[in-house]
């Protein structure tokens, strides 16, 4: 993007003429938009044809799976203008930040798909040749078939098996065992043994077993990658939706810059309703800030010139200017990252079910194979036959089913949760969530909706219509809440000379009388909050209350019914917390808790033996989210908090929390069942292999039936309610 100005998120802040006319009409790099409402073929045609008719747009392509639009355009048209064209076509569109989004293509997924395709091709060809051998091909024919199988199998295993070899090597280097170690060993030994046998014109070659093992396990790896990829891409899109640009004042002119390019000492303009991008000192005389993301306090705070503002605060008053004191990595927001990293160690050292299974399974199988070799060697003194039997033990012990046991279930579970608006961000999140026995909720922004509810019942119809008229003239959150409540019910009174007084309120004239809506102290009232004055009458208080999020009650009730006690841990005042807790039926409340204290409180609960689920959205919750046994955050949370949480809730509804818990529990149950199924197959197959009766045909049968059973059992996770 050569012209930073044209990509401004705030077209009002910058004069449109700044879009330099003398710059040559270069094609911008692919601009991308999130278009959540596109859903059919007609939508695709409407958007693509509608945009191509706009001068300056070279190409437009909708991706229906991602609900995203890519546009190639000249410099003559800005992102906001394209978004407006899309709005005119009937589709809400949001520009996405290119850097935060990354590329749409998924090179890792493609590489896996290639390996999978090659393994599948080789497996089918070798299987055909093997069928001929099993049905009785002998002598030269058998040797020829083995030779062809070998020429196909060796390069294919070397290419397709790489993901397993790499993972096994990494694990071994760190002196650990994972499932890929026995898998790699089985594949390599099967191919090596079969090569040796083919040279000796032996009867048994396991080329087909080695290839089908690779193929089945690659299916598991690919499925896992796809579901994780979908969740990852959705999470990236959330942060790409955030505005990563700010307006810098240079010689009195506002210039749009990327937040990453801001420097200490820059004078930065923060429009009304926007987040402060960096830490800084306030230059404007006064400002009203919403610090709920940082501290959990639900009420606005008035600050004076010179006050330190922190990145992440929201400007509730008129546009303000600040001088940057810390940018980039040094801002308060970033410093929390250090705290998160420290708190996260517990989560990273959690041993997953698959890892625990591998730690038991790998030594047992390797020991069995070794014993089989030594036992047969002692009994028969035939090295070749003993080695053959040992390899047969390794291949027949169903590493395939074991390798699929967890990924097949978690893939289904993550996919199911994704379709209900839950993004699973961490690999072991579901297993940890299943163990949870206590839930801690943040209040502001988590149990409550961002915004207020307004009570206007004490006012007459005329007073209400005046209130609505005043509220519609302002962008302040309380005004917006009033307009949202009263707007659908009535028409606003016709007001004259409407004027917004920054940092105070709105005033106007109604039938010659002065009417005012604004801060209570501006109106001279003796209460705090928001007041309304009509003419000479006394100031009336406009009661604002926090509203519960949809589904908060159902979620809390369902958790309590499932035997999981619910606590509230908030940075807000006690009275505000008690009111919300009372509505939800929660008795354990801790109010006025700072960020560090939240983490300490969690650690205390953990010491008492609880496994805690933390649900929160603010910066003050970030460390707690990272330190809890499992954690969830709504998508309205700050980027930092979302990144610290295991699961992000895309819908504005908390009712999905009990579902997540149910799915997590059934994921663990089904994974255990799958291990049991694999163990059951082993109990039949191992004695056969130890006795020396294993044949390549038997190995192929055991491998495919156990894999199919495990996959079929995994499907059941989709039926959880």
């Amino acid at each position: 993007m050569s012209s930073a100005v044209s990509a401004s998120p705030c077209p009002g802040c910058i004069p449109a003429t700044l879009v330099s006319e003398h710059v040559a009409k270069k094609i911008k790099s692919n601009l991308r938009f999130s278009v959540p409402t596109v859903h059919c073929a007609a939508c695709i045609a409407k958007i693509e044809q509608g945009l191509l008719a706009v001068p300056g747009i070279r190409d437009a392509r909708v991706n229906l799976s991602l609900k995203r639009l890519g546009v190639q355009a000249d410099d003559s048209i800005s992102e906001t203008q394209i978004a407006e064209h899309l709005n005119a076509l009937g589709f809400a569109a949001y520009p996405l930040d290119q850097e935060a989004l990354g590329t749409d293509t998924d090179p890792e997924g493609r590489a896996l798909l290639l390996r999978l395709a090659v393994a599948g091709f080789a497996m089918m060809n070798v299987m055909l040749l093997s069928v001929a051998v099993w049905s009785g091909a002998t002598d030269a024919t058998r040797d020829l078939f083995h030779l062809i199988s070998a020429t196909i199998a060796v390069p294919v295993v070397a290419f397709s098996g790489q993901p397993f070899f790499k993972s096994a090597w990494t694990a071994l280097r760190h002196r650990r065992l994972n499932m890929d170690v026995p898998i790699s060993l089985a594949i390599v030994l099967a191919v090596g043994m079969s090569l040796f046998e083919s040279r000796q014109s032996g009867a048994h070659a396991y080329f087909d077993a080695a290839l089908s093992l690779t193929f089945f396990l690659l299916i598991g790896k690919f499925l896992e990658h796809k579901t994780r990829g979908a969740a990852r891409s959705a999470a990236r899109e959330l942060s790409a939706l955030e505005v990563h640009r700010a307006s810098v004042l240079i010689d009195g002119q506002a210039v749009s810059r990327a937040v990453s390019e801001l420097a200490v000492g820059d004078h930065i303009l923060v429009p009304s309703g926007m987040r402060v991008p960096v830490d800084g000192d306030l230059l404007s005389p006064t400002a009203q800030m919403d610090r709920s993301f940082l501290t959990g306090e639900s009420e606005e705070i008035e600050v004076l010139a010179g006050a330190a503002l922190q990145a992440g605060e929201v400007n509730l008053g008129g546009p303000l200017t600040l001088r940057a004191t810390a940018v980039g990595e040094d801002t308060t927001l970033r410093r929390v990252a250090a705290m998160v990293e420290l708190a996260e160690t517990g989560r990273n050292s959690y041993t997953s079910l698959a890892a625990r299974a591998a730690q038991v399974y790998a030594p047992v199988v390797h020991l069995l194979a070794l014993l089989a070799f030594l036992g047969w060697l002692a009994a028969s003194h035939d090295v070749r036959m003993s080695l053959n039997i040992a390899v047969a033990v390794l291949i027949i012990t169903c590493p395939c089913a074991l390798g699929l046991a967890v990924p097949a279930v978690s893939t289904g579970a993550i996919g199911k949760l994704f379709s209900t608006g839950l993004l699973v961000r961490h690999a072991t999140a579901l297993e940890r969530l299943a163990e949870v026995d206590l839930a801690v909720f943040d209040k502001t922004g988590t149990l409550t909706r961002p915004g207020f509810d307004v009570t206007t019942s004490g006012l007459s119809a005329v007073e209400q219509s005046i209130l609505l008229g005043l509220a519609q003239a302002s962008d302040h959150p309380v005004s917006k809440a009033i307009a949202g409540t009263l707007g659908p019910q009535m028409k606003a009174a016709a007001l004259e000379q409407i004027e917004e007084i920054k940092g105070a309120g709105v005033q106007a004239y109604f039938g010659g009388e002065r009417v005012q809506l604004g801060r209570a102290d501006w109106l001279g009232a003796d209460f705090s909050g928001t007041g309304l004055r009509i003419g000479g009458s006394r100031v009336r208080k406009i009661e604002t209350t926090e509203t519960l999020r949809d589904g908060a009650k159902t979620a809390v009730a369902a958790l309590q019914k499932a035997g999981i006690p619910v606590h509230i841990l908030t940075g807000d005042r006690r009275e505000a917390a008690v009111d919300i807790a009372h509505q939800l039926g929660v008795r354990d409340i801790q109010a006025s808790v700072r960020a560090e204290a939240k983490l300490e409180r969690l650690k205390d609960l953990e010491k008492q033996g609880y496994k805690v689920l933390m649900v929160g959205d603010g910066l003050n919750d970030t460390a707690a989210l990272a330190g809890a046994h499992a954690s969830m955050a709504p998508s309205s949370a700050l980027d930092a908090s979302r990144n610290a949480a295991d699961i992000v809730m895309l819908r504005q509804d908390l009712a999905s929390i009990p579902l997540a818990l149910a799915v997590a529990r059934s994921t663990v149950k089904l994974s255990r069942q799958n291990f049991a199924i694999a163990a059951g197959y082993n109990m039949i197959a191992i004695p056969i292999a130890l006795a020396g009766f294993a044949t390549p045909l038997l190995a192929a049968l055991a491998m495919s039936t156990s894999s199919v059973t495990v996959l079929a059992n995994a499907m059941r996770v989709r039926f959880v309610k």
Partner: protein, 50 residues
């Protein structure tokens, strides 16, 4: 059994053609938007969309 000398290469070549075809579709980004591809077939050919 001499027929094997013909049949085996033939089967391998046919399988190989399928594999190369599949690799081409992967490289050609044909799996990046499966829902979109399913919907685009309904679009009218007379109106240029691309």
């Amino acid at each position: 059994m001499n027929v094997l000398a013909v049949l085996i290469p033939v089967s391998l070549i046919l399988g190989g053609v399928g594999l190369v075809g599949f690799l081409w579709t992967v490289r050609n980004a044909q799996y990046d938007d499966p829902e979109g591809s399913a919907a685009r077939i309904l679009l009218d050919d007379d109106t240029p969309t691309d």
